[in-house]
Protein backbone atom coordinates (compact mmCIF):
# COMPACT_ATOMS: atom_id res chain seq x y z
CA UNK A 1 0.00 0.00 0.00
CA UNK A 2 2.77 2.42 0.87
CA UNK A 3 4.44 1.91 -2.48
CA UNK A 4 1.60 3.86 -4.09
CA UNK A 5 0.22 7.32 -3.55
CA UNK A 6 -3.42 7.15 -2.37
CA UNK A 7 -5.52 5.74 -5.19
CA UNK A 8 -2.49 5.24 -7.46
CA UNK A 9 -2.45 8.67 -9.15
CA UNK A 10 -0.22 11.49 -7.89
CA UNK A 11 -1.92 14.44 -6.24
CA UNK A 12 -1.28 16.87 -9.11
CA UNK A 13 -2.98 14.53 -11.54
CA UNK A 14 -5.94 14.03 -9.26
CA UNK A 15 -6.30 17.78 -8.89
CA UNK A 16 -6.23 18.15 -12.65
CA UNK A 17 -8.94 15.52 -12.99
CA UNK A 18 -11.02 17.11 -10.22
CA UNK A 19 -10.90 20.43 -12.04
CA UNK A 20 -12.22 18.68 -15.14
CA UNK A 21 -14.96 17.01 -13.06
CA UNK A 22 -16.01 20.32 -11.51
CA UNK A 23 -16.13 21.94 -14.91
CA UNK A 24 -18.18 19.02 -16.18
CA UNK A 25 -20.64 19.42 -13.32
CA UNK A 26 -20.88 23.13 -13.98
CA UNK A 27 -21.68 22.54 -17.65
CA UNK A 28 -23.84 19.40 -17.64
CA UNK A 29 -23.24 17.12 -20.60
CA UNK A 30 -20.27 19.09 -21.93
CA UNK A 31 -17.20 17.01 -22.74
CA UNK A 32 -14.24 18.42 -20.84
CA UNK A 33 -10.82 17.46 -22.20
CA UNK A 34 -8.33 16.16 -19.62
CA UNK A 35 -4.81 14.82 -19.70
CA UNK A 36 -5.56 11.13 -19.40
CA UNK A 37 -2.73 9.14 -17.82
CA UNK A 38 -1.36 5.74 -18.63
CA UNK A 39 -2.99 3.33 -16.23
CA UNK A 40 -1.82 -0.20 -15.43
CA UNK A 41 -4.55 -1.68 -17.60
CA UNK A 42 -5.31 -1.56 -21.30
CA UNK A 43 -7.52 1.07 -22.90
CA UNK A 44 -11.05 -0.21 -23.15
CA UNK A 45 -10.86 -1.76 -19.70
CA UNK A 46 -12.09 1.33 -17.93
CA UNK A 47 -9.05 3.60 -17.74
CA UNK A 48 -11.25 6.70 -17.85
CA UNK A 49 -13.56 5.48 -15.14
CA UNK A 50 -10.63 4.42 -12.98
CA UNK A 51 -9.02 7.84 -13.20
CA UNK A 52 -12.26 9.57 -12.30
CA UNK A 53 -12.78 7.14 -9.41
CA UNK A 54 -9.20 7.72 -8.24
CA UNK A 55 -9.76 11.47 -8.19
CA UNK A 56 -13.10 11.06 -6.43
CA UNK A 57 -12.32 8.51 -3.71
CA UNK A 58 -11.47 9.54 -0.16
CA UNK A 59 -10.16 7.12 2.49
CA UNK A 60 -13.64 7.01 4.09
CA UNK A 61 -15.43 5.92 0.90
CA UNK A 62 -16.93 2.52 0.25
CA UNK A 63 -16.33 1.44 -3.31
CA UNK A 64 -18.36 -0.83 -5.58
CA UNK A 65 -17.59 -1.87 -9.15
CA UNK A 66 -20.06 -3.40 -11.56
CA UNK A 67 -19.56 -4.65 -15.07
CA UNK A 68 -22.77 -5.18 -17.07
CA UNK A 69 -24.54 -5.17 -13.71
CA UNK A 70 -22.37 -7.88 -12.18
CA UNK A 71 -19.89 -7.49 -9.34
CA UNK A 72 -18.06 -10.71 -10.07
CA UNK A 73 -16.72 -10.42 -13.60
CA UNK A 74 -13.00 -10.21 -14.28
CA UNK A 75 -13.13 -6.53 -15.01
CA UNK A 76 -15.13 -5.65 -11.90
CA UNK A 77 -13.02 -7.83 -9.65
CA UNK A 78 -9.72 -6.47 -10.91
CA UNK A 79 -10.73 -2.81 -10.62
CA UNK A 80 -12.07 -3.45 -7.12
CA UNK A 81 -8.81 -5.16 -6.16
CA UNK A 82 -6.86 -2.32 -7.75
CA UNK A 83 -8.39 0.23 -5.40
CA UNK A 84 -8.23 -2.13 -2.42
CA UNK A 85 -4.50 -2.26 -3.06
CA UNK A 86 -3.79 1.32 -3.99
CA UNK A 87 -6.33 3.24 -1.87
CA UNK A 88 -7.11 0.80 0.89
CA UNK A 89 -10.77 1.80 0.76
CA UNK A 90 -13.54 -0.49 1.81
CA UNK A 91 -15.31 -2.27 -1.00
CA UNK A 92 -18.76 -3.73 -1.20
CA UNK A 93 -21.09 -5.50 -3.58
CA UNK A 94 -24.19 -3.93 -2.03
CA UNK A 95 -25.42 -0.90 -3.89
CA UNK A 96 -26.92 0.77 -0.81
CA UNK A 97 -23.64 0.58 1.14
CA UNK A 98 -21.44 2.03 -1.60
CA UNK A 99 -20.57 5.73 -1.70
CA UNK A 100 -18.74 5.56 -5.03
CA UNK A 101 -19.85 3.11 -7.70
CA UNK A 102 -17.84 2.58 -10.87
CA UNK A 103 -19.91 1.00 -13.60
CA UNK A 104 -19.55 -0.38 -17.05
CA UNK A 105 -22.76 -0.48 -19.14
CA UNK A 106 -25.42 -0.44 -16.39
CA UNK A 107 -27.12 1.69 -13.77
CA UNK A 108 -28.02 -0.30 -10.62
CA UNK A 109 -31.68 -1.18 -10.17
CA UNK A 110 -31.74 0.25 -6.65
CA UNK A 111 -32.46 3.97 -6.59
CA UNK A 112 -29.26 5.89 -5.95
CA UNK A 113 -29.20 8.59 -3.30
CA UNK A 114 -27.74 12.06 -2.93
CA UNK A 115 -24.86 10.60 -0.88
CA UNK A 116 -23.61 8.54 -3.77
CA UNK A 117 -21.47 9.12 -6.84
CA UNK A 118 -21.67 6.89 -9.89
CA UNK A 119 -18.74 6.78 -12.30
CA UNK A 120 -19.34 5.49 -15.83
CA UNK A 121 -16.69 3.97 -18.08
CA UNK A 122 -17.05 5.49 -21.53
CA UNK A 123 -15.53 4.04 -24.69
CA UNK A 124 -16.60 6.78 -27.15
CA UNK A 125 -17.83 10.01 -25.58
CA UNK A 126 -18.83 11.76 -28.81
CA UNK A 127 -22.43 10.87 -29.77
CA UNK A 128 -22.05 12.56 -33.17
CA UNK A 129 -18.91 10.61 -34.07
CA UNK A 130 -20.49 7.97 -36.27
CA UNK A 131 -22.06 10.49 -38.61
CA UNK A 132 -19.48 13.26 -38.44
CA UNK A 133 -15.97 11.94 -37.93
CA UNK A 134 -14.30 15.38 -37.77
CA UNK A 135 -13.73 16.36 -34.14
CA UNK A 136 -13.40 20.04 -35.13
CA UNK A 137 -16.83 19.88 -36.69
CA UNK A 138 -18.56 17.97 -33.86
CA UNK A 139 -17.19 20.44 -31.31
CA UNK A 140 -18.60 23.27 -33.37
CA UNK A 141 -21.92 21.47 -33.60
CA UNK A 142 -22.02 21.14 -29.82
CA UNK A 143 -21.09 24.75 -29.27
CA UNK A 144 -23.75 25.95 -31.70
CA UNK A 145 -26.33 23.39 -30.58
CA UNK A 146 -26.64 21.94 -34.08
CA UNK A 147 -28.06 18.55 -33.28
CA UNK A 148 -30.08 17.72 -36.39
CA UNK A 149 -27.52 15.05 -37.19
CA UNK A 150 -28.41 13.10 -34.06
CA UNK A 151 -31.91 12.65 -35.39
CA UNK A 152 -30.51 11.57 -38.74
CA UNK A 153 -29.07 8.56 -36.91
CA UNK A 154 -32.46 7.75 -35.39
CA UNK A 155 -34.10 8.33 -38.79
CA UNK A 156 -31.71 5.80 -40.31
CA UNK A 157 -32.65 3.34 -37.57
CA UNK A 158 -36.34 3.59 -38.30
CA UNK A 159 -35.92 3.53 -42.07
CA UNK A 160 -33.81 0.39 -41.89
CA UNK A 161 -35.39 -1.48 -38.99
CA UNK A 162 -38.89 -0.05 -38.71
CA UNK A 163 -38.20 1.20 -35.20
CA UNK A 164 -35.45 2.98 -33.34
CA UNK A 165 -33.13 0.02 -33.00
CA UNK A 166 -30.46 1.84 -31.01
CA UNK A 167 -30.78 -0.14 -27.80
CA UNK A 168 -27.75 1.04 -25.86
CA UNK A 169 -25.69 4.25 -25.75
CA UNK A 170 -28.97 5.92 -26.62
CA UNK A 171 -28.36 9.68 -27.04
CA UNK A 172 -29.85 12.11 -24.55
CA UNK A 173 -30.12 15.85 -24.22
CA UNK A 174 -28.91 17.10 -20.88
CA UNK A 175 -30.42 20.13 -19.20
CA UNK A 176 -31.91 21.21 -22.55
CA UNK A 177 -28.48 21.99 -23.90
CA UNK A 178 -25.86 19.35 -24.70
CA UNK A 179 -26.50 16.09 -26.47
CA UNK A 180 -24.60 13.38 -24.59
CA UNK A 181 -23.69 9.76 -24.97
CA UNK A 182 -24.76 8.11 -21.70
CA UNK A 183 -22.10 5.39 -22.25
CA UNK A 184 -23.27 2.00 -23.50
CA UNK A 185 -25.98 1.50 -20.88
CA UNK A 186 -29.14 -0.18 -22.20
CA UNK A 187 -31.82 2.34 -23.09
CA UNK A 188 -33.86 0.71 -20.34
CA UNK A 189 -31.61 2.65 -17.95
CA UNK A 190 -32.06 6.02 -19.68
CA UNK A 191 -34.98 7.20 -17.52
CA UNK A 192 -32.79 6.60 -14.44
CA UNK A 193 -30.31 9.24 -15.66
CA UNK A 194 -32.45 11.78 -13.82
CA UNK A 195 -31.33 10.81 -10.34
CA UNK A 196 -30.30 12.12 -6.92
CA UNK A 197 -26.68 10.97 -7.19
CA UNK A 198 -23.82 12.71 -8.98
CA UNK A 199 -23.01 11.05 -12.31
CA UNK A 200 -19.49 11.27 -13.71
CA UNK A 201 -18.35 9.92 -17.07
CA UNK A 202 -14.71 9.15 -17.91
CA UNK A 203 -13.26 8.26 -21.30
CA UNK A 204 -9.56 7.39 -20.92
CA UNK A 205 -8.46 6.79 -24.47
CA UNK A 206 -10.49 9.77 -25.72
CA UNK A 207 -9.37 11.99 -22.81
CA UNK A 208 -12.79 13.35 -22.00
CA UNK A 209 -14.73 13.78 -18.76
CA UNK A 210 -18.35 14.83 -18.52
CA UNK A 211 -20.97 14.88 -15.82
CA UNK A 212 -24.64 15.12 -14.91
CA UNK A 213 -25.34 16.84 -11.58
CA UNK A 214 -28.15 15.55 -9.35
CA UNK A 215 -31.73 16.32 -10.38
CA UNK A 216 -30.75 17.38 -13.89
CA UNK A 217 -33.23 17.04 -16.73
CA UNK A 218 -32.13 14.29 -19.12
CA UNK A 219 -34.30 13.64 -22.18
CA UNK A 220 -33.86 10.73 -24.58
CA UNK A 221 -34.08 11.90 -28.19
CA UNK A 222 -36.94 10.59 -30.31
CA UNK A 223 -39.55 11.37 -32.95
CA UNK A 224 -43.13 12.43 -32.28
CA UNK A 225 -44.42 9.38 -34.10
CA UNK A 226 -41.68 7.07 -32.78
CA UNK A 227 -41.42 8.01 -29.11
CA UNK A 228 -38.61 6.78 -26.89
CA UNK A 229 -39.29 3.47 -25.15
CA UNK A 230 -37.24 2.02 -22.32
CA UNK A 231 -37.42 -1.58 -23.42
CA UNK A 232 -36.39 -4.80 -21.71
CA UNK A 233 -37.00 -8.51 -22.31
CA UNK A 234 -40.70 -9.15 -21.76
CA UNK A 235 -40.15 -11.69 -19.00
CA UNK A 236 -39.75 -11.83 -15.21
CA UNK A 237 -36.42 -12.82 -13.67
CA UNK A 238 -36.22 -16.63 -13.48
CA UNK A 239 -34.40 -16.48 -10.17
CA UNK A 240 -36.03 -13.68 -8.15
CA UNK A 241 -39.24 -13.12 -10.11
CA UNK A 242 -38.65 -9.37 -10.53
CA UNK A 243 -40.86 -7.90 -13.27
CA UNK A 244 -39.19 -4.53 -13.57
CA UNK A 245 -35.46 -5.20 -13.75
CA UNK A 246 -33.19 -5.37 -16.78
CA UNK A 247 -32.55 -8.98 -17.74
CA UNK A 248 -29.74 -11.00 -19.26
CA UNK A 249 -30.67 -13.93 -21.42
CA UNK A 250 -28.69 -17.08 -20.65
CA UNK A 251 -28.62 -20.08 -22.96
CA UNK A 252 -28.84 -23.19 -20.79
CA UNK A 253 -28.12 -26.11 -23.11
CA UNK A 254 -27.93 -27.32 -26.71
CA UNK A 255 -31.70 -27.86 -26.76
CA UNK A 256 -32.35 -24.13 -26.83
CA UNK A 257 -33.51 -23.80 -23.23
CA UNK A 258 -32.82 -20.38 -21.87
CA UNK A 259 -33.37 -18.38 -18.76
CA UNK A 260 -33.71 -14.69 -18.03
CA UNK A 261 -31.95 -13.34 -14.96
CA UNK A 262 -31.44 -9.86 -13.53
CA UNK A 263 -28.31 -8.30 -14.94
CA UNK A 264 -27.89 -6.49 -11.59
CA UNK A 265 -26.52 -9.39 -9.48
CA UNK A 266 -26.74 -7.50 -6.20
CA UNK A 267 -30.38 -6.58 -6.82
CA UNK A 268 -31.27 -10.21 -7.63
CA UNK A 269 -29.43 -11.62 -4.63
CA UNK A 270 -31.02 -9.21 -2.20
CA UNK A 271 -34.49 -10.01 -3.55
CA UNK A 272 -33.89 -13.73 -3.20
CA UNK A 273 -32.64 -13.11 0.33
CA UNK A 274 -36.00 -11.45 1.00
CA UNK A 275 -37.74 -14.62 -0.17
CA UNK A 276 -38.74 -13.66 -3.73
CA UNK A 277 -38.74 -16.57 -6.14
CA UNK A 278 -38.65 -17.05 -9.87
CA UNK A 279 -39.49 -19.84 -12.29
CA UNK A 280 -36.19 -21.66 -11.87
CA UNK A 281 -35.17 -20.72 -8.32
CA UNK A 282 -36.19 -24.15 -6.94
CA UNK A 283 -33.74 -25.92 -9.24
CA UNK A 284 -30.83 -24.13 -7.66
CA UNK A 285 -29.34 -23.62 -11.07
CA UNK A 286 -27.37 -20.54 -10.17
Amino acid sequence: MNEYNFAYLDEQTKRMIRRAILKGLAVPGYQVPFASREMPMPYGWGTGGVQVSAATLTPDDTFKVIDQGADDTTNAVSIRKFFENTAGVETTEETEKATVIQTRHRIPEAKLTGDQIIVYQVPIPEPLRFLEPRETETRKMHSLEEYGLMHVKLYEDISQHGAISTSYAYPVKVSERYVMDPSPIPKFDNPKLEMDAIQLFGAGREQRIYAVPPHTKVVSLDFEDYPFEATKADHPCDLCGAEDSYLDEVIMDDAGNRMFVCSDTDFCRSRRAQGHEGRLSKEGAV
Binding site: L131, E146, G148, L149, V152, Y155, Q160, D222, E224, D225
Partner: protein, 256 residues
Protein backbone atom coordinates in the same frame (compact mmCIF):
# COMPACT_ATOMS: atom_id res chain seq x y z
CA UNK B 1 -37.48 46.31 -54.34
CA UNK B 2 -34.72 45.37 -51.89
CA UNK B 3 -31.91 43.29 -53.35
CA UNK B 4 -31.73 39.82 -51.85
CA UNK B 5 -27.95 40.07 -51.74
CA UNK B 6 -25.79 43.17 -51.84
CA UNK B 7 -22.11 42.50 -52.32
CA UNK B 8 -19.84 45.46 -51.66
CA UNK B 9 -16.11 45.54 -52.31
CA UNK B 10 -15.32 41.94 -51.46
CA UNK B 11 -11.63 41.21 -51.25
CA UNK B 12 -9.75 38.08 -50.35
CA UNK B 13 -5.98 37.89 -50.36
CA UNK B 14 -3.75 34.88 -50.03
CA UNK B 15 -0.65 36.60 -48.72
CA UNK B 16 0.49 38.88 -51.50
CA UNK B 17 -1.57 37.03 -54.08
CA UNK B 18 -5.05 38.28 -54.92
CA UNK B 19 -7.87 35.76 -54.52
CA UNK B 20 -10.48 38.26 -55.60
CA UNK B 21 -10.79 41.98 -55.16
CA UNK B 22 -13.20 44.85 -55.61
CA UNK B 23 -16.21 42.68 -56.33
CA UNK B 24 -19.56 44.43 -55.94
CA UNK B 25 -23.01 43.59 -57.25
CA UNK B 26 -26.65 43.38 -56.25
CA UNK B 27 -28.68 40.24 -56.73
CA UNK B 28 -32.46 40.62 -56.78
CA UNK B 29 -35.02 37.95 -55.83
CA UNK B 30 -35.48 35.43 -58.61
CA UNK B 31 -32.27 36.40 -60.41
CA UNK B 32 -29.73 33.82 -61.47
CA UNK B 33 -26.20 35.09 -61.88
CA UNK B 34 -23.37 33.18 -63.50
CA UNK B 35 -19.71 33.74 -62.68
CA UNK B 36 -17.35 32.52 -65.36
CA UNK B 37 -13.60 32.57 -65.73
CA UNK B 38 -10.74 30.14 -66.08
CA UNK B 39 -9.23 28.10 -63.27
CA UNK B 40 -7.55 30.41 -60.78
CA UNK B 41 -9.56 33.45 -61.82
CA UNK B 42 -10.93 33.78 -58.30
CA UNK B 43 -14.48 32.70 -59.00
CA UNK B 44 -14.51 29.89 -56.46
CA UNK B 45 -12.79 32.09 -53.88
CA UNK B 46 -15.49 34.69 -54.42
CA UNK B 47 -18.27 32.11 -54.12
CA UNK B 48 -16.81 30.78 -50.88
CA UNK B 49 -16.55 34.31 -49.49
CA UNK B 50 -20.18 34.97 -50.39
CA UNK B 51 -21.39 31.69 -48.89
CA UNK B 52 -19.50 32.24 -45.65
CA UNK B 53 -17.04 29.40 -46.16
CA UNK B 54 -14.16 31.85 -46.32
CA UNK B 55 -13.79 35.05 -44.37
CA UNK B 56 -13.11 37.91 -46.79
CA UNK B 57 -10.38 40.42 -45.93
CA UNK B 58 -12.65 43.28 -46.81
CA UNK B 59 -16.13 44.11 -47.99
CA UNK B 60 -19.69 43.29 -47.10
CA UNK B 61 -22.12 40.54 -48.07
CA UNK B 62 -25.51 41.90 -47.09
CA UNK B 63 -28.37 39.40 -47.17
CA UNK B 64 -32.02 40.38 -46.85
CA UNK B 65 -32.96 38.08 -43.97
CA UNK B 66 -36.57 37.10 -43.35
CA UNK B 67 -36.58 38.30 -39.77
CA UNK B 68 -34.29 41.34 -39.59
CA UNK B 69 -34.05 42.61 -43.17
CA UNK B 70 -30.63 43.33 -44.69
CA UNK B 71 -27.76 42.09 -42.49
CA UNK B 72 -24.04 41.88 -43.25
CA UNK B 73 -23.33 38.15 -43.13
CA UNK B 74 -19.58 38.71 -42.86
CA UNK B 75 -19.94 40.26 -39.42
CA UNK B 76 -22.98 38.33 -38.19
CA UNK B 77 -22.38 35.73 -35.49
CA UNK B 78 -21.33 32.29 -36.58
CA UNK B 79 -24.48 30.54 -35.27
CA UNK B 80 -26.64 32.94 -37.28
CA UNK B 81 -24.56 32.41 -40.38
CA UNK B 82 -24.67 28.64 -40.02
CA UNK B 83 -28.42 28.84 -39.45
CA UNK B 84 -28.72 30.73 -42.74
CA UNK B 85 -26.64 27.99 -44.32
CA UNK B 86 -29.23 25.43 -43.25
CA UNK B 87 -32.36 27.40 -44.05
CA UNK B 88 -32.36 30.27 -46.52
CA UNK B 89 -29.08 29.40 -48.21
CA UNK B 90 -28.03 26.31 -50.03
CA UNK B 91 -24.69 25.25 -51.43
CA UNK B 92 -24.35 22.73 -54.23
CA UNK B 93 -20.81 21.38 -54.44
CA UNK B 94 -19.12 20.27 -57.62
CA UNK B 95 -18.45 16.86 -56.13
CA UNK B 96 -21.61 15.38 -54.71
CA UNK B 97 -19.66 13.53 -52.06
CA UNK B 98 -18.59 16.87 -50.57
CA UNK B 99 -22.22 17.80 -50.13
CA UNK B 100 -23.73 14.45 -49.18
CA UNK B 101 -23.34 12.12 -46.24
CA UNK B 102 -22.26 9.01 -48.08
CA UNK B 103 -23.01 6.66 -45.18
CA UNK B 104 -26.56 7.92 -44.72
CA UNK B 105 -29.54 6.85 -46.85
CA UNK B 106 -30.98 9.14 -49.51
CA UNK B 107 -33.96 9.84 -47.27
CA UNK B 108 -31.71 10.70 -44.33
CA UNK B 109 -29.65 12.99 -46.53
CA UNK B 110 -32.72 14.91 -47.62
CA UNK B 111 -34.23 14.87 -44.13
CA UNK B 112 -31.15 16.24 -42.39
CA UNK B 113 -31.91 19.90 -43.00
CA UNK B 114 -35.51 19.37 -41.88
CA UNK B 115 -34.35 17.74 -38.67
CA UNK B 116 -31.75 20.48 -38.24
CA UNK B 117 -34.49 23.09 -38.14
CA UNK B 118 -36.52 21.09 -35.66
CA UNK B 119 -38.76 18.67 -37.57
CA UNK B 120 -39.41 15.74 -35.25
CA UNK B 121 -42.05 13.72 -37.06
CA UNK B 122 -40.50 10.75 -38.81
CA UNK B 123 -43.46 10.11 -41.11
CA UNK B 124 -43.62 13.69 -42.33
CA UNK B 125 -39.86 13.92 -42.83
CA UNK B 126 -39.93 10.73 -44.85
CA UNK B 127 -42.87 11.89 -46.95
CA UNK B 128 -41.07 15.09 -47.82
CA UNK B 129 -37.91 13.18 -48.66
CA UNK B 130 -39.87 10.94 -51.02
CA UNK B 131 -41.59 13.96 -52.57
CA UNK B 132 -38.20 15.53 -53.22
CA UNK B 133 -36.75 12.36 -54.70
CA UNK B 134 -39.59 12.56 -57.22
CA UNK B 135 -38.87 16.19 -57.97
CA UNK B 136 -35.26 15.41 -58.79
CA UNK B 137 -36.37 12.36 -60.79
CA UNK B 138 -35.07 9.62 -58.53
CA UNK B 139 -37.28 6.56 -58.07
CA UNK B 140 -38.79 6.67 -54.59
CA UNK B 141 -37.89 3.00 -54.14
CA UNK B 142 -34.31 4.27 -53.66
CA UNK B 143 -35.18 6.29 -50.55
CA UNK B 144 -33.37 3.88 -48.21
CA UNK B 145 -30.35 3.35 -50.45
CA UNK B 146 -27.08 5.04 -49.70
CA UNK B 147 -25.66 7.50 -52.22
CA UNK B 148 -22.67 5.22 -52.70
CA UNK B 149 -25.04 3.04 -54.74
CA UNK B 150 -26.05 5.98 -56.98
CA UNK B 151 -24.57 7.12 -60.29
CA UNK B 152 -22.78 10.47 -60.46
CA UNK B 153 -25.77 12.23 -61.95
CA UNK B 154 -28.12 10.78 -59.34
CA UNK B 155 -25.77 11.81 -56.54
CA UNK B 156 -25.76 15.34 -57.88
CA UNK B 157 -29.57 15.39 -58.07
CA UNK B 158 -29.75 14.02 -54.54
CA UNK B 159 -27.44 16.80 -53.39
CA UNK B 160 -29.78 19.31 -54.98
CA UNK B 161 -32.82 17.78 -53.27
CA UNK B 162 -31.00 17.77 -49.94
CA UNK B 163 -30.27 21.47 -50.37
CA UNK B 164 -33.64 22.63 -51.62
CA UNK B 165 -35.87 20.76 -49.18
CA UNK B 166 -35.99 23.67 -46.73
CA UNK B 167 -37.08 26.06 -49.47
CA UNK B 168 -33.97 28.26 -49.52
CA UNK B 169 -34.07 31.65 -51.22
CA UNK B 170 -30.46 31.74 -52.37
CA UNK B 171 -28.50 28.85 -53.85
CA UNK B 172 -24.75 28.88 -54.40
CA UNK B 173 -23.55 26.40 -56.99
CA UNK B 174 -19.93 25.54 -57.63
CA UNK B 175 -19.55 23.88 -61.02
CA UNK B 176 -22.76 21.90 -60.54
CA UNK B 177 -22.35 20.00 -63.80
CA UNK B 178 -18.59 19.52 -63.65
CA UNK B 179 -17.43 15.96 -64.02
CA UNK B 180 -20.71 14.67 -65.42
CA UNK B 181 -21.33 13.16 -68.86
CA UNK B 182 -22.77 15.59 -71.37
CA UNK B 183 -26.16 13.84 -71.52
CA UNK B 184 -26.35 13.77 -67.71
CA UNK B 185 -25.40 17.45 -67.63
CA UNK B 186 -28.28 18.37 -69.94
CA UNK B 187 -30.77 16.59 -67.73
CA UNK B 188 -29.39 18.23 -64.61
CA UNK B 189 -29.45 21.69 -66.17
CA UNK B 190 -33.00 21.18 -67.32
CA UNK B 191 -33.97 20.10 -63.82
CA UNK B 192 -32.19 23.03 -62.19
CA UNK B 193 -33.78 25.46 -64.59
CA UNK B 194 -37.22 24.09 -63.79
CA UNK B 195 -36.63 24.25 -60.03
CA UNK B 196 -35.22 27.77 -60.20
CA UNK B 197 -38.30 28.94 -62.10
CA UNK B 198 -40.81 27.02 -60.03
CA UNK B 199 -39.42 28.02 -56.64
CA UNK B 200 -38.45 31.54 -57.65
CA UNK B 201 -34.91 30.86 -56.46
CA UNK B 202 -32.06 33.28 -56.68
CA UNK B 203 -28.82 31.60 -57.55
CA UNK B 204 -25.15 32.29 -58.05
CA UNK B 205 -23.52 29.72 -60.29
CA UNK B 206 -19.79 29.42 -60.71
CA UNK B 207 -18.73 27.56 -63.81
CA UNK B 208 -16.28 27.62 -66.65
CA UNK B 209 -18.90 26.19 -69.00
CA UNK B 210 -20.50 28.97 -71.04
CA UNK B 211 -23.33 26.68 -72.18
CA UNK B 212 -24.35 26.27 -68.55
CA UNK B 213 -24.66 30.00 -67.96
CA UNK B 214 -26.41 30.57 -71.27
CA UNK B 215 -29.08 28.12 -70.20
CA UNK B 216 -29.39 29.02 -66.52
CA UNK B 217 -28.16 32.53 -65.85
CA UNK B 218 -29.93 35.84 -66.40
CA UNK B 219 -26.76 37.75 -65.72
CA UNK B 220 -23.11 37.07 -66.11
CA UNK B 221 -19.94 38.19 -64.41
CA UNK B 222 -16.61 37.44 -66.07
CA UNK B 223 -13.58 37.14 -63.80
CA UNK B 224 -9.89 37.20 -64.53
CA UNK B 225 -7.02 37.32 -62.06
CA UNK B 226 -9.35 38.07 -59.18
CA UNK B 227 -11.06 41.01 -60.87
CA UNK B 228 -14.45 41.29 -62.50
CA UNK B 229 -13.63 42.33 -66.07
CA UNK B 230 -17.14 42.40 -67.47
CA UNK B 231 -20.69 42.02 -66.25
CA UNK B 232 -24.10 42.25 -67.82
CA UNK B 233 -27.02 40.42 -69.32
CA UNK B 234 -25.95 36.88 -70.14
CA UNK B 235 -26.83 36.90 -73.83
CA UNK B 236 -25.36 40.36 -74.28
CA UNK B 237 -22.04 39.42 -72.67
CA UNK B 238 -21.83 36.20 -74.68
CA UNK B 239 -23.02 37.61 -78.03
CA UNK B 240 -21.39 41.03 -77.82
CA UNK B 241 -18.46 40.72 -75.39
CA UNK B 242 -16.69 44.02 -74.75
CA UNK B 243 -13.58 43.02 -72.86
CA UNK B 244 -10.61 41.37 -74.54
CA UNK B 245 -10.64 38.48 -72.11
CA UNK B 246 -14.34 37.78 -72.59
CA UNK B 247 -13.89 37.84 -76.34
CA UNK B 248 -11.10 35.31 -75.99
CA UNK B 249 -13.24 33.18 -73.70
CA UNK B 250 -16.24 33.22 -76.02
CA UNK B 251 -14.20 32.57 -79.12
CA UNK B 252 -12.40 29.67 -77.43
CA UNK B 253 -15.55 27.60 -77.19
CA UNK B 254 -15.60 24.80 -79.71
CA UNK B 255 -18.61 24.91 -81.97
CA UNK B 256 -20.45 21.65 -82.39
Amino acid sequence: MTPLLQVKGIQKLYGARIGCTGVSFDLYPGEVMGIVGESGSGKSTLLNCLAGHLVPDGGQVIFDTRSDGPVDTVTMSEPERRMLGRTDWAFVHQHARDGLRMSVSAGGNIGERLMAVGDRHYGQIRDRAIDWLGRVEIDDARVDDRPTAFSGGMQQRLQIARNLVTGPRLVFMDEPTGGLDVSVQARLLDLLRGLVREMGLSAIIVTHDLAVVRLLADRLMVMKDGHVVEAGLTDQVLDDPQHAYTQLLVSSVLQV
